[in-house]
């Protein structure tokens, strides 16, 4: 039996990823704040072939509950093989520039809640000799840009956290995977006009599975974002400041 826990499973990318794994012999723990939608996803995975599904309704921004949450999960399934952290919000950058509370709220969900969960989960996973801790960060975390540095800073913080965690767990055989998607067409980005750089949640899901299989550390999805971010990261500041990026 493969035990899979997905935090923020109501996310379009996370749901698609779970779907690809839903087959005989997989058991899911689904965590999200929308209890009704969790039941819908549970039914979906069961029909598609998952062996068993447990749901844990929980607002992941409330960090004080994280230890209990993970304890409950462990009680249900005993061991975790694959953990995916996917929840997140895309804050309104302009609003964050006006209001420090708005800014820290976004940081709370996108960074602190991830780090808090990872702290608890790492201690569980460290007892194993295998398994995967996968976290969706973003290409936005690679360099601060005026159009969304609040979101980017939170994602970047998680990436650095994962770097350190990977270092810490390197002797255990646990994979720590940093997933950095580019533009993905999901409810989070519903209001954006889409162009050729945009990927579907299913594309990203396939990439995530492949990266888990290949036991990668960091993956850009789709892969061409590695090239794009390579360029953006190395743009001299005076050039960067002339762009609207």
């Amino acid at each position: 039996m493969t035990n899979i826990a997905i935090f923020g499973v109501t996310s379009a990318i996370a749901q698609a990823t779970g779907r690809l794994m839903a087959c005989d012999g997989t058991r899911f723990c689904l965590i999200g704040r929308n209890a009704e939608q969790l039941e819908i996803i549970k039914q979906d995975y069961l029909v598609r072939g998952a062996s068993d599904v447990f749901v844990f309704p929980c607002d992941l921004a409330s960090r004080t509950t994280h230890q209990d949450l993970v304890d409950n999960i462990m009680q249900s399934v005993g061991q975790l093989d694959i953990v995916l952290l996917a929840h997140g919000v895309l804050p309104d950058q302009a609003a964050c520039e006006e209001d420090p509370f708005e800014m820290s709220e976004a940081f709370e969900v996108n960074a602190l809640s991830h780090m808090s969960l990872l702290t608890v989960l790492a201690n569980v996973m460290a007892q194993h000799t295998k398994g995967t801790l996968a976290v969706i960060t973003s290409v936005a975390g690679v360099r601060g840009r005026k159009s969304n540095y609040v979101y980017g800073a939170a994602k970047g913080a998680v990436s650095i956290f994962l770097d350190g965690l990977r270092h810490r767990l390197s002797s255990t055989g646990v994979q720590v995977l940093d997933i950095r998607p580019g533009f993905v067409d999901t409810p989070m980005t519903a209001d954006f006009e889409k162009g050729p750089l945009w990927a579907s949640p299913e594309d990203i899901a396939r990439g995530i599975l492949k990266a888990i299989e290949k036991r990668k550390d960091v993956t850009y999805l789709p892969h061409f974002w590695w090239w794009i971010m390579m360029i953006i990261r190395h743009l001299p500041r005076f050039v960067m400041h002339k762009t609207g990026l």
Partner: protein
């Protein structure tokens, strides 16, 4: 909320629309401002403007993609309306079930398949998609959720099947699958030399072959007029069902829209001629995999881009059997002489199964479909000439493919229109619907 360019398959230039995704099957419809209209959007595989609502809003159903229940014993599957036929097939096939009706692409949603009451290559045996819909939930703008079946809210059931998305949002649907012996198909392809031969082959094959379709070389004239390939097939015997047959090993994609259409006089001549002669023998027998047989076009993602930025029209008509032979011949003659060439001219027969929808397109007769590059007014004029032939033969055009039929033509060929109109949801409308309103009353009927 920004306006977005959602397109239909023909890539014809239509305006932008507000897009509102429905995130959950328990969500209500959005609150609209005064005078604003909405239309459900599946996967935009309709060719014209029936899935678009320019200057209005689209309710994107893509997140209604959850399975709800699958009774493996009885072959009854319940799912949300945004589920692709591809995903249903992936679920059904390993247990020996299949969808009874399959259109030429599997990237169609269940909601879209119901709202156009789509047909496949086996109409004479299985009718249209709607014939296999046991029940569905219809969400209306007044908040009501109507459970519709042949025995409950029947009028809405018959209005919504083939109802072009105008009666409300189909939230989920329950479908009766049919068993199959194999995902492989035993297929025979027969070269024929004219329209009359097609009808003869149809008569010979209708009791022996479930799937039947013909491709016609639409550029041949004179004595070669109406020559083509007739293909007929059955599921192979011997319980071989393979899930792998559903996944193209590698799909290729038409990456970008070329600045001008790649479809022109020369490529068309070459294609039609090579395609006709590719088969030497008069009869060829093959065992084909599921996808090769049903969805050859899905092999190239976004093939519609080859028509360039101006897009293309599809013209699909149905002619009643008694008029079919002369009608099709006249149409082909007009197509060959008018120079409106096409890669794909497809001819299929519809059987006598009564379609369940008030506005269903399929009806006893023969249906002809062709793709035509958009050359502006010249193309529109040529298509109007085809309309006359279709109207004279008491035929009809398929709204799922249409972007230009005149209002009179629609009214003349959908006799249950007046029964349908009162069942339209008051805030639902589409570009298609506004276009086919009689000009004198446009505005008061949405």
């Amino acid at each position: 909320m920004r306006r977005q360019t959602y397109k239909s398959w023909g890539n014809l230039p239509f305006g932008k629309q507000k897009v509102i995704p429905l995130l959950s099957r328990s969500d209500p419809l959005p609150t609209l401002s005064e005078g604003e209209t909405i239309l459900p959007y599946g996967n935009g595989r309709s060719y014209g403007d029936s899935c678009l609502n320019t200057d209005g809003a689209l309710i994107d159903t893509r997140y209604l993609d959850h399975m709800i229940q699958f009774d493996r014993e009885r072959g009854v599957v319940t799912c949300e309306s945004g589920v692709f036929l591809k995903d249903l097939l992936t679920l059904l096939i390993p247990d020996g079930w299949c969808l009874p009706v399959l259109p030429g692409t599997q990237f169609v949603t269940v909601g879209g398949a119901i709202a156009n009451d789509v047909h496949g290559k086996n109409h004479s045996q299985f009718g249209s998609f709607g014939c296999h819909v046991l029940q569905f939930e219809l969400l209306r703008s007044d908040g009501r959720r109507l459970l519709c079946s042949p025995t409950q809210n029947e009028v809405y059931y018959h209005a919504t099947i083939g109802g072009l998305g105008l009666t409300g949002v189909i939230v989920w649907a329950q479908i009766q699958a049919r068993p199959i012996s194999s995902t492989d198909l035993e297929c025979e392809t027969i070269k024929f030399s004219g329209v009359e031969d097609f009808f003869r082959l149809e008569e010979d094959s209708q009791n022996t072959h479930e799937y039947r379709v013909a491709w016609i070389d639409c550029l041949s004239k004179g004595t070669a007029l109406g020559r083509g390939h007739y293909s007929r097939a059955n599921h192979a015997d011997g319980r071989r069902v393979s899930r792998d047959s559903l996944l193209w090993k590698k799909r290729i994609s038409f990456p970008l829209t070329p600045p001008i259409s790649a479809v022109n006089k020369f490529t068309l001549q070459a294609f039609n001629s090579v395609y006709f002669h590719r088969q030497r023998k008069t009869i060829r027998k093959d065992t084909l995999s599921f996808e090769t047989f049903f969805f050859p076009l899905d092999h190239i993602r976004q093939w519609n881009r080859m028509y360039g930025p101006r897009g293309f029209y599809q013209y699909q008509c149905v002619l009643p059997m008694d008029q079919a032979c002369t009608g099709v011949t006249t149409l082909l003659r007009m197509i060959a002489s008018g120079g409106i060439g096409s890669f794909l001219v497809v001819l299929k027969a519809f059987g006598d199964c009564a379609a369940p929808g008030m506005l269903s397109f399929s009806r006893p007769g023969v249906t002809l479909a062709l793709d035509i590059p958009n050359h502006g007014q010249r193309t529109l004029d040529a298509l109007s000439r085809l309309d006359e032939i279709v109207l004279n033969a008491n035929g009809a055009l398929y709204p799922a493919k249409d972007a230009r039929m005149p209002p009179d033509m629609f009214r003349a060929s959908f006799p249950r229109l007046d029964e349908f109109i009162p069942l339209i949801d008051p805030v639902f409308s589409s570009s298609f619907w506004r276009r086919i309103q009689p000009t004198s009353q446009s505005g008061d009927e949405r």
